[in-house]
C-alpha cells in the first residue's frame, strides 16, 4: 500500500487513542488509499455537515452518540445548519419531538468538543482559514468559498469524513490539497451586468451546469461583494460539481489562464431566471439567507421592513448564524424584523428544516434554495432580488 503513516497516525489506527479515533483513522486512511494519497496531512479547521435530524435520522444520531463516547476534536470544528433555531424553534412551528431529537444531535457534537454554531457560513463567524491553509470542510458552498475566495485547500467532505478529520486532526493528501489539481480548466467570459445576489446565483447556475466538475476561470466581473460571492459559491456547487473556481482580479489563487471559449450573456442569465420562475398562484413562503445572511444583509432587510407588516398569508424567514443573530439583536435589527412579523431564524436553513407540506411556494434571492425547495420540499419557486422578496412579503 502506498499510504505512509507516522508513528502517531499508526497508533491512532491501532486504537491507542480510543475507539472513536480508531474508527476516524480508518475512514481517513481508506479514503487516502482509494484516492492514491501517499501521506496524511494536518488540518487546522473542520466544518461538519449532516447536522439536521431531518437528514441524519435515528441511525445517524446513533453513530454520532457512539463516536461521542470517547471522541474529542483536535482542531477548531464548527457545524452546518440544524433543522431548527435551537432556541426559538417553537414559534417557527417545529414540533416537540423533532426539537428533542435535534437537541440530542447537537449535544453529541458538543460532547466531542465541536463548537455548536450551526451555520453554512463558518467563515463569517470565526472559523476563517487563511490562504494556503489545509482544512477539511463539508458543506459544498463553504468548501467552494474556502477554496476559491479565501484560497484555503479542502476537498468536499461528507459528514462522517469531516468528523473523522476533526477527531484525528488529519486528512489524506489528494484532490484539492495538491496544487496541480487546482489549475483552471475552462475559461468563461461574462458579458452581462451582475447587480445583486440573485444575479450571482443565476451566474452560478449557468456556469455550474456548463462546467460540471471542470474548474472554471471567469473573466468580466469587475467587482463582487462577499455576499455576492457566497451566493455564487452556493449555486455553482449546487448546479455543477465544482469545489473551486477562479475569477480574474478577484480570487487569490494563481493559475495559468485557459483559453476563453465560453461567453455568458445577459440572455443566458435571463434564461436561467426563467428556469427558476415556476407558474405559481400565491407565494406563501419567502426565504432570505441561503447561504446564511451576513450582518450587512440583515441590516438591509431590517431597513426594508421598518414600519411594514408581513401579510397574514405569508411567512418570511431570514436565516443566519447565531452570533450574527446576537449582533442583530444588539443593533436593534432583530426587533424591527420581528415586529414586522418576519422571523430572524438562527442555526437553521430552509433546505434542511422539516418544511415539507407546510408551504407550497417559495420566493428567494438564492438559486441554491430554489434547487432544494423543489427537490426536497416540492415547492414551486421564484427567484427575485432581496428588495422584491420583501415587497412580496409585505404586499
Amino acid at each position: 500500500m502506498g499510504l505512509e503513516l507516522t508513528k502517531e497516525e499508526k497508533d491512532m489506527l491501532e486504537g491507542e487513542y480510543g475507539k472513536a479515533t480508531r474508527k476516524a483513522m480508518e475512514i481517513i486512511t481508506t479514503l487516502g488509499e482509494i484516492y492514491g494519497a501517499s501521506r496524511l496531512i494536518p488540518v487546522s479547521s473542520v466544518q461538519i455537515a449532516g447536522v439536521s435530524y431531518h437528514n441524519l435520522g435515528e441511525a445517524g444520531l446513533e453513530y454520532l452518540a457512539e463516536m461521542a463516547e470517547d471522541g474529542k476534536t483536535r482542531v477548531l470544528t464548527t457545524l452546518n445548519p440544524a433543522g431548527m433555531d435551537l432556541e426559538e424553534w417553537k414559534k417557527h412551528g417545529i414540533d416537540e419531538e423533532f426539537a428533542r431529537n435535534q437537541q440530542r444531535v447537537v449535544e453529541a457534537f458538543a460532547k466531542m468538543g465541536v463548537i455548536t454554531t450551526c451555520t453554512c457560513t463558518p467563515y463569517l463567524i470565526g472559523n476563517l482559514p487563511h490562504f494556503g491553509e489545509h482544512i477539511a470542510w463539508a458543506e459544498s458552498s463553504a468548501v467552494c468559498f474556502a477554496n476559491s475566495v479565501i484560497g484555503a485547500m479542502t476537498n468536499r467532505e461528507g459528514g462522517p469524513s469531516a468528523l473523522a478529520a476533526a477527531l484525528t486532526g488529519r486528512t489524506a493528501e489528494y484532490g484539492m490539497h495538491l496544487r496541480e489539481n487546482r489549475v483552471a480548466q475552462v475559461g468563461y467570459e461574462v458579458q452581462a451586468t451582475l447587480s445583486s445576489t440573485d444575479d450571482f446565483g443565476l451566474l452560478g447556475e449557468v456556469i455550474g451546469e456548463k462546467t460540471g466538475k471542470k474548474i472554471p476561470y471567469i473573466t468580466g466581473i469587475p467587482k463582487a461583494s462577499t455576499e455576492e460571492l457566497k451566493s455564487l459559491c452556493a449555486s455553482i456547487a449546487t448546479y455543477g460539481g465544482v469545489a473551486l473556481f477562479h475569477i480574474e482580479g478577484i480570487t487569490p489563487n494563481k493559475t495559468p489562464k485557459p483559453e476563453i471559449n465560453e461567453v455568458i450573456t445577459q440572455e443566458d442569465l435571463e434564461n436561467a431566471r426563467k428556469t427558476l420562475d415556476d407558474e405559481t398562484e400565491e407565494i406563501d413562503f419567502i426565504s432570505i439567507g441561503c447561504p446564511h445572511a451576513s450582518i450587512k444583509e440583515i441590516a438591509r432587510v431590517a431597513e426594508l421592513l421598518r414600519n411594514k407588516k408581513v401579510s397574514e398569508s405569508k411567512t418570511i424567514w431570514i436565516t443566519t448564524a447565531k452570533p450574527t443573530k446576537d449582533l442583530a439583536i444588539k443593533m436593534g435589527y432583530y426587533d424591527v424584523i420581528e415586529s414586522a412579523g418576519a422571523f430572524l431564524v438562527s442555526d437553521a436553513c430552509c433546505a434542511v428544516a422539516p418544511l415539507k407540506g407546510k408551504f407550497k411556494t417559495l420566493m428567494t434571492d438564492s438559486a441554491k434554495a430554489c434547487f432544494y425547495a423543489r427537490g426536497k420540499n416540492k415547492f414551486k419557486v421564484k427567484i427575485r432580488t432581496i428588495e422584491e422578496c420583501i415587497r412580496e412579503a409585505t404586499s
Partner: protein, 130 residues
C-alpha cells in the same frame, strides 16, 4: 472454483448469496433504510431487498448521507452481508467502515452472477466463487 483478486475496503470474512446489478446504487433516496429494499425507480434491483446478501454493484452514487443509510440498515439487522464493487466510492467506503460491513473493490464483477454462493475474504481482498 474461481478466485477474484481485488483490494480491501473494510475487513471481515463472510460467505453468502450474491445479488448482482450493473446499475450504480445511491443508498440515500435509493434504498429504504428500514427494510433494505431498493426503491429507486427503474433500477435493476427495484423492489428487491439487499438484506443478508453479498451485494455486488459497480460503484456508489449520490448524496454523502448514503453512508448513514448503510449504518441504519446494519443497526436494523437489514444490512448487506458484504459489498463487492468494481470501484468503491467514498460514500459507500465510509458507510462500510462506520457500519463494519466487509467490503472489497477492484473486482471483475461481471464474473459474478446473482444467486451464486460466494466467499469474501476482505482482509486479503479476495472473492471466491464456489
Amino acid at each position: 472454483m474461481i478466485e477474484l483478486k481485488g483490494r480491501r475496503i473494510f475487513s471481515g470474512k463472510v460467505e453468502g448469496e450474491a445479488l448482482v446489478t450493473t446499475d450504480d446504487i445511491s443508498f440515500y433516496g435509493g434504498c429504504d433504510p428500514e427494510t433494505g429494499e431498493i426503491v429507486e425507480k427503474g433500477h435493476q434491483l427495484e423492489g428487491r431487498s439487499i438484506s443478508g446478501k453479498i451485494l455486488v454493484f459497480p460503484t456508489g452514487k449520490g448524496s454523502t448521507v448514503g453512508s448513514y443509510v448503510l449504518y441504519a440498515l446494519k443497526k436494523a439487522g437489514k444490512g448487506p452481508l458484504a459489498i463487492v464493487n468494481k470501484s468503491t466510492d467514498p460514500v459507500v467506503a465510509v458507510g462500510c467502515i462506520i457500519s463494519e460491513i466487509p467490503a472489497v473493490d477492484q473486482i471483475d464483477i461481471e464474473k459474478i452472477k446473482t444467486g451464486q454462493k460466494i466467499k469474501i475474504d476482505a482482509d486479503n481482498g479476495v472473492v471466491i466463487i464456489e
